[in-house]
């Protein structure tokens, strides 16, 4: 191994040839170490992501009631899905949720980030803004469920003081999805605002100085400079939050459980119901796979349409 380095080097060799082997060795050596460091994560990824995904894909072509072995049934689950009005309702409800949730959340997050950026960089303020995100989803949902109770909830008591009739936030089928979406906006907007805030800090100060010199108004600066330069960060935030938003489950599971009627039976909850209360794992897997495909397409479209890779700074 070490023989070559111990050999008396000629000037020429030591300059040219001997430089290469240690480099090569080092690279290979790095690979070994790198593998060791990557192994735990890879193991986790393969065991908890790749394997279940592949198995889920297989199960989607079977009839599987959990307590007896899966039976291959080709595309029957997918055909069933096309006929299943609950599935289409679930997709519609989920899209309604995502539009309200992401729409409101992104606007509020950009607003909060701008306020922080222009007014304060205080760590305390940032921590406070992040606070709702630190509370567990289920706890947030339960606390809001209590506060929004139509008869004993504090929110409706307040509404009563200002002369508004009590609103059945979770019980009214028109209010249920906006309510669930609102709760998650409350929980996530601080976190999203921090991401946007980080993006704002990457915008060089000179463009703002130039804008000021040119006599641009605050409003114009925001639309012409801040938003365009923020775009790459905003796209990432949108893609990530939208994927998360499509996967809404816990808030529904602890509050409305799909009701009233089918107003909050979002796709994840429907998949869960099919799989774990009705033991229809094959069909549930097929729906999960379709959701996977939808998310992949939506994410790719967003990245492509909003030109995530390019920055207007260049």
């Amino acid at each position: 191994m070490t023989a070559t380095t111990n050999a008396p080097p000629t000037r020429k060799r030591s300059h040219g040839v001997s430089a290469a082997p240690p480099g090569k060795r080092r690279r290979l050596g790095d690979l070994k170490v790198a593998m060791i460091f990557l192994a735990p994560a890879t193991l986790g990824f393969v065991v908890f992501y790749i394997w279940p995904t592949l198995r889920g894909a297989y199960l989607s072509f079977t009839e599987y009631s959990l307590l007896s072995a899966p039976k291959f049934n080709g595309l029957a689950n997918y055909e069933r899905m096309i006929q299943d009005s609950f599935f289409w309702n679930a997709l519609g409800v989920t899209v309604e949720y995502v539009v309200i949730n992401i729409g409101v959340q992104t606007v509020l997050a950009v607003g909060i980030a701008m306020l922080m950026y222009r007014l304060t960089k205080s760590i305390t303020v940032r921590a406070v803004i992040l606070a709702p995100y630190l509370v567990a989803n289920v706890v947030v949902a339960l606390v809001w469920y209590w506060m929004l109770d139509v008869q004993v909830g504090v929110v409706n008591t307040f509404l009563g003081w200002v002369g508004i009739d009590p609103v059945a936030f979770f019980g009214d089928s028109h209010w249920a999805i906006p309510t669930v979406a609102g709760i998650n906006v409350w929980r996530h907007m601080g976190y999203t605002a921090l991401l946007v805030f980080a993006g704002l800090q990457t915008i060089p100060a000179y463009v703002y100085e130039a804008a000021e010199v040119d006599g641009s108004t605050e409003w114009k600066t925001f639309w012409r400079i801040t938003l365009p330069l923020l775009r790459p960060v905003l796209v990432m935030v949108l893609v990530v939050t939208m994927i998360g938003s499509f996967q809404i489950f816990d808030t529904v599971a602890v509050t409305t459980q799909g009701g009233p009627i089918n107003a909050t039976r979002v796709i994840y909850y429907y998949i869960y119901e099919r799989a774990f209360t009705r033991f229809d794992f094959g069909y549930a897997s097929a729906m999960a796979l379709v959701l996977f495909a939808i998310l992949a397409v939506v994410s790719l479209l967003q990245l492509r349409l909003l030109r995530a890779k390019e920055s207007d700074l260049a």
Binding site: S65, L67, Q151, F169, G171, G259, P260, I261
Partner: protein, 451 residues
């Protein structure tokens, strides 16, 4: 350097492996042959069953029981994953809405041979209770441990204020046309925001402060605590061949007229709208806040109502319906053995013990549920009396035999998936009661597809 890094890695892997190996020890192999695992979901019953396990071990030193308790929702999903991964408990508490599916899939052990071998006396149980655990295939899957029926829980301060006596409350009549004296009482108990009662002039049904009748939900396919007794006392049956329904009757006029009357209480302002009822935390919380005068509920809720300190709660009989008597659903729990257990004899010994009067006396004295063994009932009655409950209204229908079973079905989850949205739609006035015949067709389609 190299060596120490490798050692480090090995130690690390070894450290990772330890919990993995330890985790395997939860499996059957690591336990002693006489040690069985028993699951239940009700934390309120954990102390009694711990006591039972102690007595059981004293009587059978060769066996011991480890009790594990999980909340209702976790319980069933954990149980199913346990079936698949071969780690289910040897013995577990079963429910009539769940065990038919498990039996259908061969996960619950039939106990007929054991019952015959040990000459278990099935007549010690409340009438009809033991037979609930005979599955659709004619095999027996458990020994009953407790039972429940429904009554009205009422806020006695509100009934006194309305001038309604306990005698009136306990002799109510009902019919689907005008609701009988039951509806008159509910009307009187309803108070609007200006203090006018439902039967007084000027009653404003859009601004009600106290509703005469509360309800938790639309009842789905069983209506256990919402509409089951009205429908039954109107002469309606869930299905042909009860309790193993092969053809359901949700489209029957006797049922739809009952539901039509029931939701009519919402229109009249005596009952909250479906949106309001579902938007509440739960029906007992609203009752505890004095928003409802009467709420129907099951005997297992006695403990919860007992914790409502702001209201004084009393019990009243269900009303006499068009068929001339009171009817209540009677349901219950039983202990069942997992088919995959390697400790069948120990498991059976425990099930037999839990089904005996010795064990049920222990359960009865705690005053949480009604024991399945008839002779243990006086002890339970006394225990409930000590917490201030006169539980007679629960017992009467059982003694009279005017009870009907929970609609059991191996496809219960699929039936629920159809009936819950259908009933929700009717109660929120998005569909007419007549629409239930379409739901009924869907239900029967599921049953015939899986028959």
């Amino acid at each position: 350097m190299n060596l120490s890094r490798r050692t480090l890695l090995k130690t690390g892997l070894a450290a990772l492996a330890v919990p993995a190996v330890a985790a395997c020890n939860n499996g059957a192999a690591a336990r002693g042959d006489g040690e069985i695992i028993y699951w239940l979901w009700d934390s309120a019953q954990l102390p009694m069953y711990t006591e039972c396990a102690k007595v059981f071990h004293e009587q059978n030193p060769q066996y011991s029981v480890k009790i594990e308790q999980y909340g209702w929702n976790d319980y069933w999903s954990k149980l199913v994953t346990g079936f698949i991964s071969d780690t289910a408990p040897d013995v577990f508490t079963g429910h009539s809405s769940k065990y038919p599916l498990f039996a259908d899939k061969g996960q619950v052990l039939p106990i007929d041979d054991y019952v015959a071998r040990d000459n278990v006396d099935l007549s010690i149980y409340q009438k009809g209770l033991a037979d609930r655990w005979i599955g659709a295939d004619g095999k027996r899957y458990g020994l009953p441990k407790d039972w429940d029926t429904e009554v009205y829980f009422y806020n006695s301060a509100l009934t006194e204020a309305a001038g309604i006596s306990p005698e009136q409350l306990n002799s109510m009549t009902w019919n689907p046309q005008d609701g009988g004296t039951f509806e008159q009482i509910v009307r009187r108990l309803t108070v609007d925001s200006k203090g006018r009662r439902g039967d007084q002039p000027g009653f404003d049904k859009n601004n009600v402060k106290v509703y005469g009748l509360g309800y938790a939900d639309a009842g789905g396919g069983d209506g256990q605590t919402s509409w089951s007794w009205y429908a039954a006392s109107n002469g309606w049956k869930y299905s042909e061949g009860e309790p193993w329904g092969t053809k359901f009757f949700y489209g029957d006029p006797k049922f739809t007229e009952t539901i039509g009357w029931w939701r009519g209480l919402i229109t009249k302002g005596y009952m909250p709208t479906y949106a309001q009822a579902k938007s509440g935390v739960d029906v007992t919380t609203s009752f505890g806040a004095g928003k409802y005068a009467i709420t129907p509920n099951g005997s297992w809720m006695l403990g919860t109502y007992g914790t409502l300190k702001q209201v004084k709660t009393k019990l009243a009989r269900l009303p006499i319906g068009p068929i001339g008597k009171r009817m209540s659903m009677m349901n219950g729990l039983a202990d069942t053995i997992w088919a995959g257990t390697t400790r069948r004899d120990a498991s059976w010994a425990w099930v037999k013990f839990l089904g005996s009067q010795t064990a049920q006396d222990i359960v009865a004295k705690a005053g949480v549920v009604f024991p399945a063994v008839a002779a243990s009932m006086p002890a339970a009655k006394a225990a409930f009396a000590k917490s201030g409950w006169d539980v007679t209204p629960f017992l009467e229908p059982v003694e009279a035999g005017d009870v009907f079973p929970y609609p059991a079905n191996p496809n219960a989850a699929d039936v629920t998936a159809v009936m819950t949205p259908a009933m929700d739609a009717v109660m929120s006035f998005e569909a007419d009661p007549a629409s239930l015949s379409k739901a009924n067709n869907d239900v029967n389609k599921i049953l015939s597809a899986n028959a």
